[in-house]
């Protein structure tokens, strides 16, 4: 295995072009090192941690920009993220353990493209974009199309994720991330649900509702039918019950050693309902009637 520490994005990209499918980018290494140990060693390991300015959280023209090397812990402890992007903050604080959060990067989480990746459904509901660098230039790719399957993304083997660009939701919008796992820490989500709700001016109706479903399909998913059902309405117990059931049909889970598909659907239903209850209350100050 060859090992490289490029000092610039350009150097990194030429290494990736040169080594093609043999090359592997490593950031925090919390996925890559596990793969090296238990699966296969790549021909060339490209450590991007020496590239300056790939980490950091900045606000720019109605967006938050988070560098690919920003650690999950930095996001979790950022007052800016907590205030502007509560759904992302909520996911990051439920991520693995403190030790892993100190090492793991958001770029790694995204490019790993695991359906259970904690930051993925929040980025979907935030309608964020991946800023990708290729040897022939930079491109912005919405997360809606970025994730292509377990471990597969629009970054491919030759692209580098440099930043995520997250439009800041309207003031008054609230978000939560609910994780269903066996343990209180160090656990992979059996189901993850991200809900974001924006009330109308009078706080009477849900002007916009977005729902992201994790670990229940080959990629993280949105639940468009459920979102459409809720849009413009006041949330009632009957409505969120219906929404939960509908969201369960929008998931396409599998059965594995962690959970059965059927159980996952039930959990999607329950967490969607809870997510709606919580965001409705946070956004309007009212309990779901």
């Amino acid at each position: 295995m060859e090992y490289f520490e490029p000092k610039s994005i350009g150097d990194a990209l030429s290494l990736l072009s040169k080594h093609g499918a043999e090359a592997k980018v490593i950031a925090g290494g919390t996925d890559v090192m596990v793969d090296i140990k238990f699966k296969e060693e790549p021909g060339a390991l490209v450590n991007i941690k020496k590239i300056p300015s790939l980490a950091g959280i900045t606000e720019r023209g109605g967006s938050l920009r988070i560098g690919a090397l920003t650690t999950i812990r930095d996001i979790e402890t950022s007052a800016l993220v907590r205030e502007k992007l509560p759904v992302l903050w909520d996911a990051c604080r439920q991520f693995a353990s403190l030790q892993v959060r100190n090492t793991a990067t958001i770029g790694g989480n995204i490019c790993r493209a695991s359906p259970s990746g904690e930051s993925l459904t929040p980025l979907l509901v935030l309608e964020a974009n991946a800023i990708l660098a290729f040897s022939d230039g930079e491109r912005s790719e919405p997360f809606k199309t970025f994730f292509q399957g377990p471990g597969k993304s629009a970054a491919g083997a030759k692209g580098l994720l440099t930043e995520v660009d997250i439009p800041i939701p309207p003031a008054g919008s609230k978000g939560v991330y609910l994780k269903h796992a066996v343990r209180g820490a160090m656990d992979i989500a059996m189901v993850g649900v991200a809900v974001m709700l924006t009330p109308d001016a009078g706080k009477n109706n849900a002007q916009d509702v977005r729902i992201g479903l994790g670990a229940v399909g080959p990629t993280p998913l949105r639940a468009p039918k459920t979102e459409a059902l809720l849009k413009g309405k006041a949330l009632t117990a009957a409505l969120i019950k219906e929404a939960g059931a509908l969201a369960a049909t929008e998931a396409s889970p599998i059965t594995d050693q962690r959970s059965s598909a059927e159980n996952r659907r039930w959990i999607v239903e329950a967490l969607t309902r809870r997510g709606l209850e919580q965001t409705w209350k946070a956004a309007t100050g009212k309990e779901v009637a």
Binding site: S97, H180, V182, R183, G184, A185, M186, D187, I188, M190, Q257, R258, S259, S260, N263, W266, I267, A270, L271, R274
Partner: protein, 771 residues
């Protein structure tokens, strides 16, 4: 001596704390030896198959490979109760993970690469996963030569295929008992396979010296003398030719007794021209190829009078032994015998069957069969109470063992602190009082469970204690410090009897060339047995010192006392000599006083093979009650343990701090086994979750508020009144949590673990039947 105790009963800091916390200690897994080779095993990918052909030529040809061995080079078998396990597979494999061949090479990567070059041809045989299926008539014997194996004399072969032990307990007449009962419950309970998951995985180093004919094995094994015996029997080699050296051990919980990596290391060591070989299992190999805890299917039927008096209990338990007998026969005996619970029951019938299956080998695990029986029996006690409209405390109080009771196996019990544990544990979580927690979607419940646990008996511990002319005390004891704190406890005993400060006591490293025989560090036996041996050996040394000191101080031996590392005259304390000085004057500057002792607790008659009866089956019994408060998420089924009290009758707490740590550790481990842990094995015999990613141990965030409670019901034979404590913290934990979950949701769940999905389906089923 009637003086006050100076260090016994005190919360002394662990003697090994510093070297462990600073990382200085060398664990078996970390040990490197000069000129060492690296061993790796090839594990069977088949659960049950004939080996048609093994081709090692490619592996042998790989540069850097020194030796490649297969069963043909290691024609030996071993096993504690049944000699059924080959060093490396002989002609067939019986589980996925069975070592088939091994390589020793100059480095680990080469060894691993060579292992991949070994080619094996298999021919499939029927695979048995469920013990109840495996013992149906017509099943193929997993061990076709079973009847020809050498076995322990106490074993009873079952009448059906694949049963390696059938334990029977017969008391009274259960049919009559059930006829006299007002209420009868009959249920089936299930406990899955779990794994010890000690922090340090398994390893062994072996070296064979042709000239001297000596075989040396470095291994963190919790019963080195038994392992030595097993190796000597297997190889037909004199015991003096074999030496076991114990480096530090990073946990075990029962998984590190018997032989695991040792046979592979030994088979290789004979082929390396005298170079030592290390065989080290990674985590996955530890999961599939060392040891597991028995899954158990427990049929439990109880009959009670309207007033809650237990009349009859009948239990049939299938212990899933896995592919080799290991300790299954004794787990079956010692787990089945007290399975009906710590109660006066006139009519009892128990049948325990240890059954071979094509799964990883099951054996001893902290609690030795008690958790499985308690999961059934203690949940059924609650169900009986509820059906009778009684308080679960009252039904137990009515039937519980107290001082002088006759047990259903024919032994009169003494030093029974059970009632006190029950009262204290339930009080500590305000059992019976409604929880103030009120969160929508969360159900809160409380529950408790009681256990009684025997210890392996009869067994022997020997000890030596020396005092040198510097006044330093060295203890030679074969108890293994596996993390449980024995080095601290035994140092306290020596310090107490010789009245020296703790820092003057050194525990000698465990080396079978130097240390006298000890049965094992298992079964919660060490504080009691080795405690007694070290105490007597210390007294033996003390007597020699006192005798030598009497003429020096010109007073009679009777007038002498010890204190602060000195011998002094009782009525003239200023007239004193440091004990080192006494040794020096008597034996010179290099002199050493040696104390020696042997302790064996003679039990009564052996268990009667037809009735399971004995007038004295265990040196002592441990009693405990634990109580849990849990929350259950009504929608997801997730159980969280909020509080757990654990009251244990320890006889006498030699070190209260260590007792509490043992209780807490046991409880936390028990919580894992109650709410997440389960080794998932599919129909082909493959373990689906051999890693910490999907084998869920408890993390600190899953730990509840722990309330350890020490109860001291003096055990007259124990050192200072002590019993044992290593195992029982785990044993009642799942049953207490099961009862709390049933209290929370009003649904009884019979199968462990209470992981979210299992609880979810129970809730779902209940909703359906309510609708």
């Amino acid at each position: 001596m009637s003086e006050e105790l100076t260090v016994i009963g005190k919360p002394v800091t662990r003697v090994d704390a510093y070297e462990k916390v600073t990382g200085q200690i060398v664990y078996g897994y970390d040990l490197t030896l000069p000129n060492m080779l690296y061993g790796k095993a090839l594990f069977s990918p088949k659960a049950h198959a004939k080996i048609k052909k093994i081709d090692i030529s490619k592996a042998k040809a790989l540069p850097g490979v020194v030796a490649v061995v297969t069963g043909a080079d290691a024609p030996w078998t071993h096993g504690e109760a049944v000699k059924d396990k080959p060093f490396l597979a002989h002609g067939k494999v019986r589980y996925i993970g069975e070592p088939v061949a091994a390589v020793a090479a100059e480095d680990e990567d080469t060894a691993q690469a060579a292992v991949k070059l070994i080619e094996v041809e298999y021919e499939d045989l029927p695979v048995y996963i469920d013990p109840e299926e495996a013992c149906k008539p017509g099943c193929v014997e997993i061990h076709e030569d079973y009847d020809g194996y050498r076995k322990a004399p106490f074993m009873v072969r079952g009448a059906a295929p694949n049963i390696n032990e059938h334990f029977k307990l017969r008391t009274g007449d259960v049919a009559k008992g059930f006829a006299e009962s007002d209420l009868i419950l009959d249920e089936k309970y299930y406990v899955p396979i779990i794994q010890h998951a000690a922090m340090e995985p398994h390893s062994a180093h072996a070296q064979w010296d042709k000239e001297s004919g000596r075989l040396t094995i470095w291994v963190a094994n919790d019963a080195p003398f038994r392992a030595l015996h097993e190796i000597s029997e297997a190889l037909a080699m004199d015991k003096e030719k074999i030496r076991f050296i114990n480096p530090a051990q990073g946990g075990g919980f029962g998984s590190k007794g018997g032989l695991k990596c040792e046979p592979i290391a030994v088979a290789l060591a004979f082929q390396t021209g005298g170079r030592p070989v290390r065989v080290k299992f990674n985590r996955e190999e530890t999961f599939i190829s060392t040891l597991t805890r028995h899954a158990a299917t427990v049929y439990c039927k109880s009959g009670v009078k309207k007033d809650g008096t237990l009349v009859a209990r009948e239990m049939t338990i299938y212990w899933d032994a896995g592919a080799y007998a290991e300790k299954s026969p004794t787990v079956c005996i010692r787990g089945s015998l007290p399975a009906p619970g710590p109660y006066r029951i006139p009519h009892v019938k128990v049948d325990g069957y240890a059954v071979y299956t094509n799964k990883p080998v099951a054996g001893s695990y902290r609690g030795y069969g008690i958790p499985q029986g308690a999961w059934a029996g203690e949940q059924q006690m609650d169900e009986l109470a509820i059906k009778l409209g009684m308080d679960p405390i009252d039904i137990r109080m009515k039937n519980i063992f107290v001082e002088g009771d006759m047990s259903y196996w024919g032994e009169q019990l003494h030093a029974v602190g059970l009632k006190e544990t029950l009262i204290k544990a339930t009080e500590a979580i305000e059992y019976g009082k409604k929880s103030p927690i009120n969160k929508p979607g969360l159900k809160i419940g409380k529950g408790f469970a009681c256990i009684q646990k025997p210890t392996r008996s009869p067994t022997t511990s020997n000890a030596g204690v020396t005092v040198n002319a510097q006044g330093e005390v060295t203890v030679f004891a074969g108890t293994v410090e596996i993390g449980q704190g024995c080095n601290t406890i035994l140092s306290q005993v020596a310090a107490e009897e010789l009245k020296v400060p703790m820092d003057k006591v050194i525990m000698h490293q465990l080396d079978t060339d130097v240390i006298p025989y000890d049965a094992s560090t298992t079964s919660s036996r060490s504080t009691y047995h080795m405690g007694n041996a070290v105490r007597s050996a210390s007294i033996h040394a003390r007597e020699q010192i006192m005798e030598a000191a009497a003429p020096m101080l010109e007073v009679g031996v009777q007038e002498l006392a010890l204190g602060d590392g000195k011998v002094f005259a009782k009525d003239q304390p200023q007239q004193s000599l440091p004990i080192g000085e006494v040794v020096k004057r008597k034996l010179g500057i290099n002199g050493v006083v040696r104390g020696e002792a042997s302790y064996t607790y003679e039990i009564g008659k052996d268990l009667d093979l037809e009735t399971g009866h004995s007038d004295h089956a265990s040196a002592f019994y441990m009693y405990a009650t634990q109580a849990a408060e849990v929350s259950v998420d009504e929608e997801s089924g997730r159980v969280r343990v909020l509080r757990m009290s654990a009251a244990h009758d320890v006889g006498k707490a030699i070190n209260p701090l260590n007792c509490e740590a043992q209780i807490e550790g046991g409880v936390v481990m028990g919580i894992g086994s109650a709410i997440h842990e389960e080794l998932i094995i599919d129909a082909t015999g493959k373990v689906r979750n051999p890693s910490f990613l999907d084998y869920h141990l408890v993390t600190s965030l899953d730990c509840p508020q722990l309330i350890p409670i020490i109860v001291e019901c003096h055990e007259p034979e124990g050192p200072y009144g002590a019993k044992g404590l290593g195992e029982p913290g785990l044993a009642p934990t799942p049953a207490a949590i099961g009862n709390a979950v049933a209290d929370a949701i009003g649904i009884r769940i019979y199968d462990l673990p209470l992981k979210p999905e299992n609880v979810f389906w129970a809730l779902q089923k209940n909703k359906k039947s309510a609708a």
